[in-house]
């Protein structure tokens, strides 16, 4: 048993380190911290220290081209230096094709009178990192239960025992992913092109019931053991507002298929985390000496309040 757990931990660490290597290290010069796209036609360069203003303001010092055709140098429209003199924003005459990596050469960086050498940098969209940030954002930073206050009826109803909580969380995540992807598809390819936006609510609630029914049928036929364990929670999933909130959020924001998938998985995972945390506390509360008027739901609400305060600590955090 112990050995298996160690393996799991090892795999987890390798994955984490890999992700950080993949997303975190894109600095190619010791004086340049970060380069990124901004808006449709801007590139932001963050330096490790303040640079000299006369040097930074001169457009000749920057040259940018797409990696695949180095002959075409993109025309600059303007250079702006931030107040603390560490970030330079380059504005281009035309919209940048952000799917392509760009090469940016910065000549003879001048910082406090000293030259820091020429830097040849690559600017690219860290897409995997962005996906991860959508996932973690939905799961922890904007946890649907503790920071958006959704799905509370089911949350308080099924968080009495750890086993129930995990069952509910897993079932919920499954249905969530299925229904979110279906509603994303429906919204992008049917409702939006035909200008039927106002039918959002009716269509989404129909799709949610449909996917609950589908998961029910498939699970019953394919894996009866799993159905026996999780089937009871399927009915409760419809009564959960998160399952309807995610399609509505997806309709409001322009997410593509992968981002929608990440948001759905994050919402489900966040609900699972919240249920697990809460059920751990409530199992302890069962044996605690709670005043009679607070027994049951009132104390559960106050516990959830404390959790919500703790989760407020994550707010405003941004990854990548």
């Amino acid at each position: 048993m112990v050995k298996v757990q160690r393996q799991h931990v090892l795999v987890g660490w390798v994955l984490l380190v890999g992700l950080f290597l993949l997303t975190g290290c894109d600095s190619e010069h010791r004086f340049v911290k970060r380069t990124s796209f901004k808006g449709t036609n801007q590139i932001v360069i963050t330096f490790a220290g303040p640079v000299d203003e006369p040097w930074a303001k001169k457009m000749d010092h920057y040259a940018v081209y797409e990696k695949q055709d180095p002959d075409i140098v993109l025309g600059l429209a303007g250079v702006a230096l931030s107040q603390d003199k560490t970030t330079v924003t380059l504005t281009f005459q035309e919209t940048l094709n952000q799917e392509q990596p760009h090469v940016l050469s910065v000549k003879e960086i001048q910082s406090q009178g000293k030259s820091q050498g020429t830097a040849l940098l690559t600017v690219k969209k860290v897409y995997l990192g962005y996906l991860l940030s959508v996932l973690l954002g939905a799961m922890i930073i904007k946890n649907f239960v503790f920071t958006k206050y959704l799905g509370l009826c089911v949350f308080f109803g099924t968080s009495q025992k750890k086993s129930t909580a995990v069952g509910m969380g897993v079932t919920f995540t499954l249905v969530m992913v299925a229904s979110a992807m279906m509603s994303w598809f429906m919204y992008q390819f049917v409702l939006k092109p035909f200008r039927l936006d106002f039918l959002q609510i009716v269509v989404f609630i129909g799709l949610v019931s449909l996917s609950v029914q589908a998961v029910d049928t498939i699970l019953r036929k394919v894996n009866p053991a799993l159905f026996k364990a999780f089937g009871v929670y399927l009915v409760l999933v419809i009564a959960n507002c998160i399952i309807l909130a995610v399609p509505l959020i997806l309709a409001n924001s322009e997410y593509n298929a992968f981002e929608s998938l990440m948001l759905a998985v994050g919402a489900g995972g966040g609900f699972l985390i919240a249920l697990f945390l809460m059920s751990s506390v409530r199992e302890r509360l069962e044996v605690a000496n709670v005043p009679p008027t607070y027994r049951g739901l009132p104390i559960a609400f106050i516990t959830a309040g404390l959790f919500a305060l703790a989760f407020m600590g994550f707010s405003g955090m941004s990854l990548f």
Binding site: Y149, I205, G206, I238, A245, P292, P298, I302, G305, M312
Partner: protein, 207 residues
């Protein structure tokens, strides 16, 4: 079909107090915690829920004989969704500022357990008039709960009531924080439980 024997006024007060959706039945907690930061929010969402509850109860009660029992739940859901769409579009057109503040919660009225529960438990079994009064009672019960929570949080948190300055300062800023919603609901439930306990003791003494 078991028709109710309660009078109309009894149905109304049941929903308002003894079966209050928020404090007694503990249903539809999401908005009670999420957007009860001011009285105005409470009133607006309360009115929206009242509207949806009354109209869907009446609709279901009127057509109950034509619904096949096996598809009754999808029928309820679609009826509610239709009326929610109506109130959603009306609010977005006439009260855009308040609508923005309430955000996604207006659309989420569809998923409120209280409305489906009343349709299943009451409207599907009773004639139009009692269903109407039951829906009015439940709707006002929800409105009452939301306004109470909103008043507590607004007075304690920002020292105002419906935007009018009462105290002149912000007594306990904590209550305007989003997380305080859980605490206020918890305390209110405890108070209701305590009142229940006191009433029971008084009855025992009399008996």
């Amino acid at each position: 079909m078991a028709h109710t024997k309660k009078s109309n006024s009894q149905l109304f007060f049941d929903g308002l107090l003894t079966e209050n959706p928020i404090f007694r039945l503990a249903l539809s907690m999401c908005p009670a915690v999420g957007i009860s930061t001011s009285v105005m929010n409470g009133i607006l969402l309360g009115v929206a829920v009242l509207f949806v509850q009354v109209f869907s109860s009446c609709t279901i009660s009127a057509i109950k004989n034509y619904i096949h029992p096996r598809i009754r739940i999808p029928t309820y859901t679609l009826t509610i969704a239709t009326w929610v769409t109506v109130i959603d579009l009306v609010l977005a057109a006439y009260l855009p500022a308040a609508y923005k503040e309430m955000g996604i919660f207006v659309k989420l009225i569809v998923a409120f357990a209280i409305i489906t529960m009343r349709l299943e438990m009451f409207a599907a079994k009773n004639p139009l008039i009692p269903s109407f009064w039951d829906a009015i009672g439940m709707g006002f019960g929800f409105l009452f709960g939301m306004v109470t929570l909103g008043a507590i949080r607004e007075i304690l948190g920002s020292g105002t009531f419906l935007g009018f300055d009462l105290v002149g300062e912000k007594p306990l800023l904590f209550f305007i924080l989003p997380a305080a919603g859980f605490f206020v609901v918890g305390f209110m439930m405890a108070i209701f439980n305590y009142m229940d306990l006191v009433f029971k003791r008084m009855k025992e003494k009399k008996g």
